[in-house]
Protein backbone atom coordinates (compact mmCIF):
# COMPACT_ATOMS: atom_id res chain seq x y z
CA UNK A 1 0.00 0.00 0.00
CA UNK A 2 1.23 3.38 -0.94
CA UNK A 3 1.02 5.41 2.26
CA UNK A 4 2.01 8.65 0.58
CA UNK A 5 -1.50 9.23 -0.76
CA UNK A 6 -2.93 9.01 2.74
CA UNK A 7 -0.21 11.28 4.09
CA UNK A 8 -0.68 13.86 1.35
CA UNK A 9 -4.49 13.78 1.42
CA UNK A 10 -4.70 16.26 4.29
CA UNK A 11 -6.86 13.82 6.28
CA UNK A 12 -4.23 13.47 8.98
CA UNK A 13 -4.26 17.24 9.50
CA UNK A 14 -8.04 17.18 9.87
CA UNK A 15 -7.66 14.20 12.20
CA UNK A 16 -5.34 16.13 14.45
CA UNK A 17 -7.65 19.14 14.49
CA UNK A 18 -10.58 16.93 15.46
CA UNK A 19 -12.39 17.81 12.25
CA UNK A 20 -12.71 14.30 10.77
CA UNK A 21 -16.02 12.42 10.98
CA UNK A 22 -16.10 9.61 13.59
CA UNK A 23 -15.66 6.70 11.15
CA UNK A 24 -12.70 8.30 9.47
CA UNK A 25 -11.19 9.09 12.84
CA UNK A 26 -11.36 5.42 13.78
CA UNK A 27 -9.74 4.53 10.50
CA UNK A 28 -6.83 6.86 11.21
CA UNK A 29 -6.58 5.47 14.76
CA UNK A 30 -6.04 2.05 13.18
CA UNK A 31 -3.57 3.38 10.62
CA UNK A 32 -1.50 4.95 13.38
CA UNK A 33 -1.22 1.59 15.11
CA UNK A 34 -0.37 -0.22 11.90
CA UNK A 35 2.06 2.12 10.22
CA UNK A 36 4.92 3.94 11.91
CA UNK A 37 5.05 6.30 8.91
CA UNK A 38 1.52 7.48 9.63
CA UNK A 39 2.27 7.87 13.33
CA UNK A 40 5.36 9.89 12.47
CA UNK A 41 3.33 12.19 10.23
CA UNK A 42 0.70 12.80 12.90
CA UNK A 43 3.52 13.56 15.35
CA UNK A 44 4.97 16.03 12.85
CA UNK A 45 1.62 17.79 12.56
CA UNK A 46 1.33 18.07 16.33
CA UNK A 47 4.89 19.34 16.56
CA UNK A 48 4.18 22.04 13.98
CA UNK A 49 1.06 23.30 15.68
CA UNK A 50 2.75 23.13 19.07
CA UNK A 51 5.55 25.26 17.72
CA UNK A 52 3.14 27.78 16.20
CA UNK A 53 1.22 27.93 19.46
CA UNK A 54 4.32 28.47 21.52
CA UNK A 55 4.83 31.78 19.73
CA UNK A 56 1.52 33.01 21.07
CA UNK A 57 2.33 33.80 24.66
CA UNK A 58 0.37 36.33 26.66
CA UNK A 59 0.50 36.59 30.43
CA UNK A 60 -2.83 36.30 32.27
CA UNK A 61 -3.32 38.63 35.22
CA UNK A 62 -1.82 37.53 38.57
CA UNK A 63 -5.27 37.16 40.17
CA UNK A 64 -6.01 34.27 37.80
CA UNK A 65 -3.48 32.03 39.46
CA UNK A 66 -4.71 33.02 42.90
CA UNK A 67 -8.35 32.23 42.07
CA UNK A 68 -7.43 29.05 40.32
CA UNK A 69 -5.50 27.60 43.22
CA UNK A 70 -8.25 28.59 45.61
CA UNK A 71 -10.66 26.60 43.45
CA UNK A 72 -8.29 23.67 43.15
CA UNK A 73 -7.94 23.56 46.94
CA UNK A 74 -11.72 23.46 47.25
CA UNK A 75 -11.91 20.73 44.63
CA UNK A 76 -9.34 18.71 46.50
CA UNK A 77 -11.21 18.98 49.77
CA UNK A 78 -14.52 17.93 48.20
CA UNK A 79 -12.99 15.02 46.34
CA UNK A 80 -13.26 12.85 49.46
CA UNK A 81 -16.67 14.13 50.54
CA UNK A 82 -19.14 12.98 47.95
CA UNK A 83 -21.59 11.76 50.56
CA UNK A 84 -23.49 15.06 50.54
CA UNK A 85 -25.83 13.69 47.89
CA UNK A 86 -27.13 11.08 50.31
CA UNK A 87 -28.00 13.78 52.82
CA UNK A 88 -30.02 15.67 50.24
CA UNK A 89 -32.09 12.63 49.44
CA UNK A 90 -32.96 12.26 53.09
CA UNK A 91 -34.51 15.70 53.12
CA UNK A 92 -37.31 14.72 50.76
CA UNK A 93 -39.87 13.38 53.26
CA UNK A 94 -40.39 17.01 54.27
CA UNK A 95 -42.82 17.15 51.36
CA UNK A 96 -45.48 15.54 53.51
CA UNK A 97 -45.41 18.42 55.91
CA UNK A 98 -45.32 20.97 53.13
CA UNK A 99 -48.41 19.52 51.50
CA UNK A 100 -50.54 19.28 54.58
CA UNK A 101 -50.71 22.76 56.15
CA UNK A 102 -53.47 24.12 53.83
CA UNK A 103 -55.69 21.18 54.76
CA UNK A 104 -54.89 21.69 58.39
CA UNK A 105 -55.81 25.36 58.35
CA UNK A 106 -59.15 24.82 56.63
CA UNK A 107 -60.19 22.04 58.92
CA UNK A 108 -59.19 23.91 62.05
CA UNK A 109 -61.52 26.79 61.18
CA UNK A 110 -64.50 24.57 60.74
CA UNK A 111 -63.72 22.33 63.65
CA UNK A 112 -64.63 24.85 66.29
CA UNK A 113 -67.57 22.73 67.42
CA UNK A 114 -66.54 19.35 66.31
CA UNK A 115 -62.98 18.48 67.10
CA UNK A 116 -63.59 14.86 66.20
CA UNK A 117 -64.52 15.79 62.63
CA UNK A 118 -61.47 18.02 62.45
CA UNK A 119 -59.26 15.22 63.65
CA UNK A 120 -60.85 12.87 61.13
CA UNK A 121 -60.29 15.34 58.29
CA UNK A 122 -56.71 15.95 59.30
CA UNK A 123 -56.18 12.23 59.52
CA UNK A 124 -57.76 11.71 56.11
CA UNK A 125 -55.74 14.49 54.49
CA UNK A 126 -52.56 13.19 56.04
CA UNK A 127 -53.16 9.64 54.99
CA UNK A 128 -54.15 10.62 51.43
CA UNK A 129 -51.05 12.78 51.28
CA UNK A 130 -48.97 9.92 52.56
CA UNK A 131 -50.45 7.45 50.08
CA UNK A 132 -49.89 9.82 47.16
CA UNK A 133 -46.41 10.59 48.38
CA UNK A 134 -45.50 6.97 48.86
CA UNK A 135 -47.03 5.98 45.52
CA UNK A 136 -45.13 8.63 43.56
CA UNK A 137 -42.00 8.01 45.53
CA UNK A 138 -42.27 4.33 44.86
CA UNK A 139 -42.78 4.71 41.13
CA UNK A 140 -40.00 7.24 41.00
CA UNK A 141 -37.71 4.83 42.79
CA UNK A 142 -38.75 2.09 40.39
CA UNK A 143 -38.04 4.30 37.41
CA UNK A 144 -34.67 5.23 38.80
CA UNK A 145 -33.91 1.60 39.45
CA UNK A 146 -34.81 0.67 35.88
CA UNK A 147 -32.69 3.51 34.53
CA UNK A 148 -29.80 2.47 36.70
CA UNK A 149 -30.07 -1.12 35.56
CA UNK A 150 -30.08 0.04 31.97
CA UNK A 151 -27.03 2.15 32.60
CA UNK A 152 -25.17 -0.73 34.27
CA UNK A 153 -26.04 -2.97 31.33
CA UNK A 154 -24.83 -0.36 28.88
CA UNK A 155 -21.59 0.03 30.78
CA UNK A 156 -21.10 -3.72 30.92
CA UNK A 157 -21.65 -4.04 27.21
CA UNK A 158 -19.27 -1.26 26.35
CA UNK A 159 -16.71 -2.70 28.78
CA UNK A 160 -17.00 -6.07 27.07
CA UNK A 161 -16.60 -4.46 23.69
CA UNK A 162 -13.64 -2.54 24.94
CA UNK A 163 -12.05 -5.66 26.35
CA UNK A 164 -12.60 -7.53 23.12
CA UNK A 165 -11.10 -4.68 21.19
CA UNK A 166 -8.10 -4.49 23.50
CA UNK A 167 -7.60 -8.21 23.10
CA UNK A 168 -7.87 -7.85 19.34
CA UNK A 169 -5.38 -4.99 19.35
CA UNK A 170 -2.89 -6.78 21.55
CA UNK A 171 -3.14 -9.83 19.33
CA UNK A 172 -2.57 -7.61 16.32
CA UNK A 173 0.40 -5.95 17.98
CA UNK A 174 1.90 -9.32 18.84
CA UNK A 175 1.64 -10.49 15.26
CA UNK A 176 3.08 -7.23 13.99
CA UNK A 177 6.06 -7.38 16.30
CA UNK A 178 6.75 -11.07 15.73
CA UNK A 179 9.78 -11.26 13.40
CA UNK A 180 8.55 -14.59 12.01
CA UNK A 181 5.68 -12.83 10.29
CA UNK A 182 6.12 -11.45 6.81
CA UNK A 183 3.96 -8.38 6.16
CA UNK A 184 2.37 -8.33 2.74
CA UNK A 185 0.63 -5.18 1.59
CA UNK A 186 -2.20 -5.94 -0.79
CA UNK A 187 -2.44 -3.21 -3.42
CA UNK A 188 -5.61 -1.82 -4.89
CA UNK A 189 -6.54 -3.28 -8.29
CA UNK A 190 -7.04 -0.49 -10.87
CA UNK A 191 -10.69 0.52 -11.15
CA UNK A 192 -11.54 -0.72 -7.65
CA UNK A 193 -12.01 1.51 -4.61
CA UNK A 194 -8.89 2.57 -2.74
CA UNK A 195 -8.24 -0.02 -0.05
CA UNK A 196 -5.71 -0.89 2.56
CA UNK A 197 -5.30 -4.56 3.46
CA UNK A 198 -2.43 -6.40 5.08
CA UNK A 199 -1.66 -10.10 5.20
CA UNK A 200 0.62 -11.37 7.94
CA UNK A 201 2.15 -14.68 7.04
CA UNK A 202 4.27 -16.82 9.33
CA UNK A 203 6.45 -18.97 7.13
CA UNK A 204 7.51 -21.15 10.08
CA UNK A 205 4.09 -22.02 11.42
CA UNK A 206 2.33 -21.36 8.07
CA UNK A 207 -0.27 -19.21 9.85
CA UNK A 208 -1.97 -16.52 7.80
CA UNK A 209 -3.70 -13.50 9.33
CA UNK A 210 -5.58 -10.78 7.52
CA UNK A 211 -6.08 -7.20 8.58
CA UNK A 212 -8.40 -5.06 6.51
CA UNK A 213 -8.52 -1.36 7.19
CA UNK A 214 -10.71 -0.06 4.46
CA UNK A 215 -12.40 -2.52 2.10
CA UNK A 216 -15.94 -1.28 1.42
CA UNK A 217 -18.75 -3.01 3.35
CA UNK A 218 -19.87 -6.02 1.24
CA UNK A 219 -23.58 -6.34 0.27
CA UNK A 220 -25.43 -8.82 2.51
CA UNK A 221 -25.47 -11.58 -0.11
CA UNK A 222 -21.72 -11.35 -0.71
CA UNK A 223 -18.49 -11.95 1.16
CA UNK A 224 -14.87 -11.28 0.55
CA UNK A 225 -12.64 -14.27 -0.16
CA UNK A 226 -8.90 -14.43 0.32
CA UNK A 227 -6.89 -16.41 -2.21
CA UNK A 228 -3.33 -17.66 -2.06
CA UNK A 229 -1.68 -18.04 -5.45
CA UNK A 230 0.29 -21.29 -5.21
CA UNK A 231 2.34 -22.33 -8.25
CA UNK A 232 0.28 -20.00 -10.39
CA UNK A 233 -3.06 -21.38 -9.22
CA UNK A 234 -5.51 -19.65 -6.84
CA UNK A 235 -6.35 -21.61 -3.70
CA UNK A 236 -9.04 -20.35 -1.35
CA UNK A 237 -7.82 -19.16 2.04
CA UNK A 238 -11.30 -18.57 3.43
CA UNK A 239 -14.06 -15.97 3.40
CA UNK A 240 -14.61 -13.02 5.71
CA UNK A 241 -17.08 -10.20 6.24
CA UNK A 242 -15.23 -7.73 8.30
CA UNK A 243 -11.65 -7.87 9.47
CA UNK A 244 -11.50 -4.31 10.58
CA UNK A 245 -9.62 -3.44 13.81
CA UNK A 246 -8.55 -7.04 14.40
CA UNK A 247 -6.41 -9.66 12.75
CA UNK A 248 -8.57 -12.40 11.26
CA UNK A 249 -7.06 -15.87 11.08
CA UNK A 250 -7.29 -17.46 7.63
CA UNK A 251 -6.21 -20.85 6.35
CA UNK A 252 -2.57 -21.86 6.79
CA UNK A 253 -0.24 -21.89 3.82
CA UNK A 254 3.26 -23.34 3.56
CA UNK A 255 3.78 -21.82 0.17
CA UNK A 256 2.28 -18.88 -1.70
CA UNK A 257 3.51 -16.50 -4.40
CA UNK A 258 0.80 -13.93 -3.83
CA UNK A 259 -2.41 -13.18 -1.96
CA UNK A 260 -5.50 -11.61 -3.45
CA UNK A 261 -9.03 -10.74 -2.36
CA UNK A 262 -12.16 -11.04 -4.48
CA UNK A 263 -15.81 -10.31 -3.74
CA UNK A 264 -17.79 -13.54 -4.07
CA UNK A 265 -21.26 -14.85 -3.27
CA UNK A 266 -21.81 -15.57 0.42
CA UNK A 267 -19.98 -18.75 1.39
CA UNK A 268 -17.28 -18.31 -1.20
CA UNK A 269 -16.53 -19.71 -4.65
CA UNK A 270 -14.34 -22.54 -5.93
CA UNK A 271 -12.68 -20.25 -8.46
CA UNK A 272 -12.04 -16.52 -8.01
CA UNK A 273 -14.14 -14.09 -10.07
CA UNK A 274 -11.36 -12.12 -11.71
CA UNK A 275 -13.47 -8.98 -12.44
CA UNK A 276 -14.27 -8.76 -8.74
CA UNK A 277 -10.69 -8.73 -7.56
CA UNK A 278 -10.13 -5.80 -5.20
CA UNK A 279 -6.56 -6.09 -3.97
CA UNK A 280 -3.49 -8.20 -4.65
CA UNK A 281 0.06 -8.41 -3.33
CA UNK A 282 3.03 -10.67 -3.97
CA UNK A 283 4.91 -12.37 -1.17
CA UNK A 284 8.42 -11.57 -2.31
Amino acid sequence: MDLSCIISSGDLELYFLGLLPKEETEKVDALIILFPEIKAEVDRISETLEAVSSYATVMPGPHVKENLFKQLKELKSTESVSSTEIKEQQKEPAFIEKDTPPGKVVSMKRSGNNSLLAAAIIGLVLSIGAVIYLATQNSRNNQELVLMEQRVNELNTSLNQQEQQNLAYSQLMQIMQDPNYTHINLQQVPGKPEALVKVFWNKQSNEVYLFDVSLPEPPSNKQYQLWAIVDGKPVSAGVFDNAKQRAQKMQDFAKADAFAITLEQRGGSAEPTMEEMYVIGTTS
Partner: protein, 182 residues
Protein backbone atom coordinates in the same frame (compact mmCIF):
# COMPACT_ATOMS: atom_id res chain seq x y z
CA UNK B 1 9.72 24.35 27.62
CA UNK B 2 9.20 20.73 28.52
CA UNK B 3 12.46 20.17 30.25
CA UNK B 4 13.28 21.38 33.71
CA UNK B 5 15.47 20.52 36.65
CA UNK B 6 12.39 19.79 38.70
CA UNK B 7 10.30 17.46 36.60
CA UNK B 8 10.62 15.21 33.62
CA UNK B 9 7.44 15.03 31.57
CA UNK B 10 6.91 11.56 32.99
CA UNK B 11 7.28 12.50 36.64
CA UNK B 12 5.21 15.63 36.10
CA UNK B 13 2.32 13.59 34.73
CA UNK B 14 2.65 11.16 37.60
CA UNK B 15 2.41 13.95 40.16
CA UNK B 16 -0.44 15.65 38.29
CA UNK B 17 -2.41 12.44 38.38
CA UNK B 18 -2.04 12.46 42.16
CA UNK B 19 -3.44 16.02 42.17
CA UNK B 20 -0.22 17.28 43.68
CA UNK B 21 -0.48 21.04 44.12
CA UNK B 22 3.18 21.70 43.59
CA UNK B 23 3.05 19.93 40.25
CA UNK B 24 0.08 22.05 39.22
CA UNK B 25 1.92 25.11 40.33
CA UNK B 26 4.78 24.14 38.07
CA UNK B 27 2.35 23.37 35.25
CA UNK B 28 0.72 26.75 35.62
CA UNK B 29 4.00 28.66 35.72
CA UNK B 30 5.28 26.89 32.62
CA UNK B 31 2.21 26.65 30.44
CA UNK B 32 -0.27 29.35 31.41
CA UNK B 33 1.35 31.97 29.17
CA UNK B 34 1.19 29.77 26.14
CA UNK B 35 -2.34 28.44 26.76
CA UNK B 36 -3.60 31.90 27.60
CA UNK B 37 -2.01 33.15 24.39
CA UNK B 38 -4.06 30.66 22.40
CA UNK B 39 -7.27 31.61 24.18
CA UNK B 40 -6.47 35.25 23.58
CA UNK B 41 -6.29 34.61 19.84
CA UNK B 42 -9.79 33.20 19.97
CA UNK B 43 -11.33 35.51 22.57
CA UNK B 44 -9.59 38.88 22.50
CA UNK B 45 -11.20 40.10 25.72
CA UNK B 46 -8.84 39.91 28.67
CA UNK B 47 -11.46 39.21 31.34
CA UNK B 48 -13.24 36.45 29.48
CA UNK B 49 -10.01 34.91 28.31
CA UNK B 50 -8.86 34.84 31.94
CA UNK B 51 -12.06 33.04 32.96
CA UNK B 52 -11.52 30.52 30.22
CA UNK B 53 -7.89 29.83 31.11
CA UNK B 54 -9.03 29.15 34.66
CA UNK B 55 -11.64 26.69 33.40
CA UNK B 56 -8.98 25.05 31.28
CA UNK B 57 -6.70 24.36 34.24
CA UNK B 58 -9.64 23.06 36.25
CA UNK B 59 -10.46 20.74 33.37
CA UNK B 60 -6.87 19.58 33.27
CA UNK B 61 -7.05 18.86 37.00
CA UNK B 62 -10.30 16.93 36.63
CA UNK B 63 -9.37 14.99 33.50
CA UNK B 64 -5.67 14.34 33.94
CA UNK B 65 -6.51 10.73 34.77
CA UNK B 66 -7.80 10.17 31.26
CA UNK B 67 -4.62 11.49 29.68
CA UNK B 68 -2.63 8.73 28.02
CA UNK B 69 1.01 9.48 27.26
CA UNK B 70 1.00 6.77 24.57
CA UNK B 71 -1.47 8.77 22.50
CA UNK B 72 0.44 12.03 22.46
CA UNK B 73 2.30 14.60 24.46
CA UNK B 74 0.99 16.48 27.46
CA UNK B 75 1.30 19.83 25.73
CA UNK B 76 -0.71 18.64 22.73
CA UNK B 77 -3.38 17.29 25.04
CA UNK B 78 -3.57 20.56 26.94
CA UNK B 79 -3.65 22.58 23.74
CA UNK B 80 -6.65 20.59 22.56
CA UNK B 81 -8.50 21.14 25.83
CA UNK B 82 -7.66 24.83 25.58
CA UNK B 83 -8.82 25.22 22.00
CA UNK B 84 -12.02 23.29 22.66
CA UNK B 85 -12.85 25.27 25.78
CA UNK B 86 -12.30 28.58 24.01
CA UNK B 87 -14.13 27.51 20.86
CA UNK B 88 -17.03 26.18 22.93
CA UNK B 89 -17.21 29.55 24.63
CA UNK B 90 -17.42 31.43 21.33
CA UNK B 91 -20.36 29.21 20.43
CA UNK B 92 -22.19 29.71 23.71
CA UNK B 93 -25.15 32.04 24.20
CA UNK B 94 -23.21 34.30 26.54
CA UNK B 95 -20.73 35.10 23.88
CA UNK B 96 -23.25 35.80 21.14
CA UNK B 97 -25.29 37.97 23.44
CA UNK B 98 -22.35 40.23 23.96
CA UNK B 99 -21.96 40.63 20.24
CA UNK B 100 -18.48 39.23 20.44
CA UNK B 101 -18.79 37.07 17.36
CA UNK B 102 -18.37 40.19 15.30
CA UNK B 103 -15.02 40.89 16.87
CA UNK B 104 -13.82 37.44 15.91
CA UNK B 105 -15.09 37.54 12.36
CA UNK B 106 -13.57 40.94 11.94
CA UNK B 107 -10.34 39.50 13.09
CA UNK B 108 -10.63 36.71 10.57
CA UNK B 109 -11.55 38.83 7.62
CA UNK B 110 -9.58 42.01 8.17
CA UNK B 111 -6.37 40.48 9.25
CA UNK B 112 -4.66 43.52 7.80
CA UNK B 113 -6.33 46.22 9.85
CA UNK B 114 -7.48 44.47 12.97
CA UNK B 115 -4.57 42.89 14.71
CA UNK B 116 -5.64 43.76 18.22
CA UNK B 117 -5.98 40.10 19.05
CA UNK B 118 -2.58 39.16 17.83
CA UNK B 119 -0.56 41.04 20.32
CA UNK B 120 2.52 39.01 20.65
CA UNK B 121 4.99 40.04 18.02
CA UNK B 122 6.65 36.65 17.54
CA UNK B 123 3.35 35.06 16.78
CA UNK B 124 2.29 37.89 14.52
CA UNK B 125 5.53 37.62 12.61
CA UNK B 126 5.06 33.92 12.00
CA UNK B 127 1.50 34.26 10.78
CA UNK B 128 2.23 37.34 8.73
CA UNK B 129 4.74 35.45 6.66
CA UNK B 130 1.86 33.37 5.35
CA UNK B 131 -0.24 34.56 2.42
CA UNK B 132 -3.61 35.91 3.61
CA UNK B 133 -5.52 32.88 2.33
CA UNK B 134 -3.36 30.45 4.28
CA UNK B 135 -3.47 32.58 7.39
CA UNK B 136 -7.25 32.56 7.23
CA UNK B 137 -7.22 28.82 6.88
CA UNK B 138 -5.16 28.37 10.05
CA UNK B 139 -7.32 30.81 11.95
CA UNK B 140 -10.57 29.19 10.87
CA UNK B 141 -9.49 25.61 11.45
CA UNK B 142 -7.08 25.78 14.35
CA UNK B 143 -8.23 28.78 16.33
CA UNK B 144 -11.93 28.84 15.53
CA UNK B 145 -12.55 25.11 15.07
CA UNK B 146 -14.68 25.50 11.95
CA UNK B 147 -15.52 22.27 10.13
CA UNK B 148 -14.24 21.45 6.67
CA UNK B 149 -17.68 22.30 5.21
CA UNK B 150 -17.86 25.62 7.01
CA UNK B 151 -14.39 26.60 5.88
CA UNK B 152 -15.21 25.60 2.33
CA UNK B 153 -18.24 27.91 2.41
CA UNK B 154 -16.55 30.83 4.14
CA UNK B 155 -13.52 30.81 1.88
CA UNK B 156 -15.43 29.71 -1.19
CA UNK B 157 -13.10 26.86 -2.10
CA UNK B 158 -13.98 23.22 -2.87
CA UNK B 159 -14.24 20.83 0.09
CA UNK B 160 -11.25 18.75 -0.98
CA UNK B 161 -9.10 21.82 -1.44
CA UNK B 162 -9.58 22.73 2.24
CA UNK B 163 -7.56 19.81 3.51
CA UNK B 164 -4.84 19.82 0.88
CA UNK B 165 -4.34 23.54 1.37
CA UNK B 166 -4.32 23.10 5.12
CA UNK B 167 -1.59 20.52 4.70
CA UNK B 168 0.46 22.84 2.51
CA UNK B 169 0.05 25.59 5.06
CA UNK B 170 1.44 23.39 7.80
CA UNK B 171 4.37 22.46 5.58
CA UNK B 172 5.05 26.17 5.02
CA UNK B 173 4.88 26.80 8.74
CA UNK B 174 7.38 24.01 9.41
CA UNK B 175 9.81 25.59 7.02
CA UNK B 176 9.31 29.03 8.51
CA UNK B 177 10.01 27.76 11.98
CA UNK B 178 13.00 25.76 10.77
CA UNK B 179 11.65 22.45 11.91
CA UNK B 180 13.08 19.38 10.24
CA UNK B 181 11.03 18.48 7.16
CA UNK B 182 11.23 14.72 7.51
Amino acid sequence: MLTSELYTEESLIQQLKLHDEQAFNYLYDNYSKSLFGIIYQIIPTQEIAEDVVQQVFIKIWKNIDSFEPSKGRLYTWMLNITRNQAIDYTRSKDFNRQGQTIAITKNVYNTESNTAAIRDTGFKKILEQLPVEKRKLIELSYFLGYTQEEISKIMDIPLGTVKTRLRNTLIDLRKMMNLKST
